[in-house]
């Protein structure tokens, strides 16, 4: 389709064309009506004048007979003006007047007619002039024709008509031109939308519709579409990340599992290694199941709806439980858990989930504190993990702070994105879904999780509203952590 045909077949242009058609038709009707009415009025006026004149002439005839009439006519005929007279006898010969002969239009007409005539002396020389006249019999077989030249009127009407016609043509042309211009500008903007959508369909999700900044409805539409595209891109990226992560999180252990089974098979004569291989295979499968369960749980928490199991609970007891659960692990790793929990707070939440969230944070803190083995670090501060619970307005704040390597600020930003797993954490043990789950739990309870610098180390701040609101609203703050994976660590060694 060429640009022109596209332009001509565009909706705005078609609309303009239809509009112009209707407009021209209406204008034509109005002009025609006015012309018809004006013509009618003027003609009537002329006829009235004629009738008045006829009355006058009739009086002259009654007073002085044919001779008087003829002399009056002869006298009036010489006066300049638009009046036309002709008095003919029974044989049709001219008795008096400034017309040379009875116009043929009167042959048929009884009373009056429009006729053409040539001015006396101009017979055959010039174009005929238009006139209107009445004929009336004069006693004695004579016929009197009284007329009026309406050539000027006629010309005027003709000029006016032409003027009207040209105006309409001009209007139509201007209208079509304007229509084309409007169509083109609208079309260009719509084409931009089409173009963008094509590019996006072709796979480039980062494309956006250009805005012209006018804030009109097209701009607003483009804005909404852009917002929609942004959301779709976000979801697509998330989906891609998820599939990548699932592929990694499930394929790697699957491969390990397969390798173990294969290794065991290779040595069939040794029942001990056979058995060992099978046991390890089962352990590997259990880890897979765990990862799978975590993925499912996150997906389900994202979907919401656990209101049924929300109950009032004391967050301090949850923290005490978790600290107690992890204390031996921490001790074994040479770490100390310092709990500083404010008592007497009430939280409406799912105990299981909050417990698991705190457990995951503590789990992470231990994992990364252990792996950080910089000898120059101050032993006293490095070897503790602080767990605290405090009230922050209408919410509670659970902080788990470690003295590990922390997360670099740029990675923290990256970790804010959904389902992003920091590369450095991939080599860590565990499913790598710990923080994702914490974020999902936070979101479900209408809370947030933030990663901060503990200088050194990582400070994970889990904020949960005391009165749990349905977590349906989209994340507001940019700092909200929705689906990050395990925090980063510069030491990739395991």
């Amino acid at each position: 389709m060429t640009a022109l045909t596209r332009l001509l077949s565009s909706t705005p242009f078609r609309l303009t064309l239809a509009y112009m058609g209707a407009f021209v038709l209406a204008a034509g009707l109005v002009v025609g009506f006015v012309a018809w009415r004006a013509n009618d009025l003027l003609t009537n006026k002329v006829i009235e004048t004629l009738e008045a004149e006829v009355t006058g002439l009739r009086e002259q005839f009654q007073a002085g007979g044919v001779e008087r009439l003829a002399s009056v006519i002869a006298q009036r005929s010489t006066q300049p003006g638009s009046s036309l007279y002709l008095l003919v006898d029974t044989a049709g010969r001219k008795v008096a007047g400034n017309l040379n002969r009875v116009p043929p239009e009167f042959e048929a007409a009884q009373r009056g007619a429009l006729f053409n005539y040539a001015r006396a002396g101009e017979e055959g020389g010039r174009a005929q002039r238009h006139a209107v006249g009445v004929s009336l019999p004069v006693p004695g077989g004579l016929v009197l024709i009284v007329g009026r030249d309406i050539e000027d009127l006629h010309r005027f009407a003709g000029t006016m008509g032409q003027l009207g016609l040209w105006s309409i043509v001009l209007l139509a042309l201007l209208g079509i031109g304007a229509g084309l211009a409007v169509s083109r500008s609208v079309l260009r903007r719509i084409e931009a939308v089409t173009e963008t959508s094509r590019t996006i369909m072709a796979g480039d999700l980062s494309k956006r519709i250009p805005l012209d900044g006018s804030g009109d409805e097209l701009d607003r539409l483009s804005e909404s579409l852009n917002a929609m595209l942004g959301r779709i891109e976000e979801l697509m990226v998330a989906l891609r990340e998820v599939s990548n992560n699932i592929a990694h999180d499930l394929k790697t252990p699957l491969n390990r599992l397969r390798n173990r089974a294969e290794a065991a098979l290779r040595d069939p004569d040794n029942p001990a290694s056979y058995r060992d291989g099978l046991v390890k295979t089962i352990e590997e499968a259990d880890d897979l199941i765990k990862t799978f369960n975590s993925l499912l749980l996150i997906a389900r928490l994202e979907a919401g709806a656990v209101a049924e199991s929300m109950e009032p609970l004391d967050p301090a007891s949850v923290i005490a439980d978790v600290a107690e659960l992890y204390e031996p692990v921490a001790e074994e790793a040479g770490l100390r858990l310092d709990v500083n929990a404010r008592k007497g707070l009430t939280l409406t939440a799912n105990r299981e989930l909050v417990g698991q969230a705190v457990a995951n944070l503590v789990d992470n803190a231990i994992k990364y504190s252990v792996d950080d083995a910089k000898p120059e670090a101050d032993g006293a501060t490095r070897r503790s993990i602080d767990i605290s619970l405090s009230r922050a307005g209408d919410a509670i704040e659970i902080v788990v702070a470690d003295r590990g390597p922390g997360v670099a600020p740029q990675d923290r930003e990256r970790a804010l994105q959904r389902f992003v797993r920091l590369e450095k954490s991939r080599s860590r043990p565990g499913s790598g879904l710990g923080l994702s789950l914490v974020a999902a739990v936070a979101r479900l309870h209408g809370g947030t999780i933030r990663l901060e610098d503990n200088a050194p180390g990582l400070r994970a701040v889990l904020t949960l509203p005391m009165r749990s609101a349905p977590a349906k609203e989209p994340p507001s703050a940019a700092s909200e952590l929705r689906q990050p994976k395990v925090a980063a660590s510069p030491t990739a060694a395991d």
């Binding site: 058995r275 046991v279 089962i282 352990e283 499968a285 259990d286 199941i289 765990k290 799978f292 369960n293 975590s294 499912l296 749980l297 389900r300 928490l301 709806a305 656990v306 049924e308 199991s309 439980d321 107690e324 659960l325 992890y326 031996p328 692990v329 074994e332 799912n350 299981e352 989930l353 417990g355 698991q356 457990a359 995951n360 789990d363 231990i366 994992k367 043990p429 565990g430 499913s431 710990g434």
Partner: protein, 240 residues
């Protein structure tokens, strides 16, 4: 932590198990596995026949899948409970929404296991269910070998010497001893001793166990607390 390579031990008492499961392969796997563990198993392929077979009675434990043709698993359990049946029920489900366990237990299930599960986990759980003592026969004292635990005075002794335990360690030992001779999985411990149902990412339970082991087995020639690889732990007196 690899003290022994015990296989899941045949239960002390053979059980009659009814498996209500519509997937034939799963049901047959359970039947075969349970037979190897010394139990006899009947299979019902849908909710209605499961209900009918359960009504006839004689089963020690029911394993009921949640989603069944003709009658939903929860409804089977609810009906049985409404009729006064007290047979322990383990509900199996592919559903693992946070509220599902609550719903399952509310319907009258005694335990809830999410698919996919390990057979050892299932076996440990149904054995624990069957062993669950009725309220009137609750003992105040458990003993395994020369280890004894008094539930009232909270005193633990081994070979007559008192052992000092933290409250949680006491509960851990109490649970293990209550199920002496049975495999107890890590999740069972987390559920029953800590009252949490999630999978901890690291080996938190193992460390608690090794700590407990350090208190009750250290210095004794015969260990009582054993690790069952691929399954969990078991406290028992006997040669290995």
């Amino acid at each position: 932590m690899r003290d022994s390579l015990l296989q899941s031990q045949p239960s002390i008492r053979p059980m009659r198990v009814l498996v209500v499961e519509d997937d034939r392969e799963t049901a047959q796997f359970l039947q075969r596995s349970l037979r190897e563990s010394g139990h006899t198993t009947d299979i019902a392929g849908d909710g209605e026949s499961g209900l009918a077979m359960a009504r006839e009675g004689g089963y020690d434990v029911l394993i009921v899948d949640r989603m069944l043709p003709r009658r939903d698993g929860l409804s089977v359990v609810q009906t049985l409970r409404a009729e006064g049946a007290r047979t322990p029920v383990l509900i199996l489900s592919a559903l693992s929404e946070v509220d599902d366990r609550v719903k399952g237990l509310r319907a009258g299930g005694d335990d809830y296991l999410t698919k996919p599960y390990a057979y050892t986990e299932l076996l440990a759980r149904i054995e624990a269910l069957v062993r669950r003592p009725a309220p009137e026969e609750q003992t105040t004292r458990y003993s395994v070998g020369d280890l004894s635990l008094d539930r009232l005075s909270h005193k633990v002794t081994r070979a007559g010497d008192p052992i000092l335990l933290q409250p949680r360690e006491f509960r851990l030992l109490e649970y293990l001893m209550k199920h002496a001779g049975q495999v107890v999985t890590r999740t069972m411990l987390l559920e029953n001793v800590w009252d949490y149902h999630f999978d901890p990412q690291t080996n938190v339970i193992d460390v608690h166990i090794s700590r407990l082991r350090g208190k009750i087995d250290k210095g004794f020639a015969k260990p009582l607390l054993h690790t069952v690889r691929g399954a969990g732990y078991m406290i028992r007196d006997g040669a290995d």
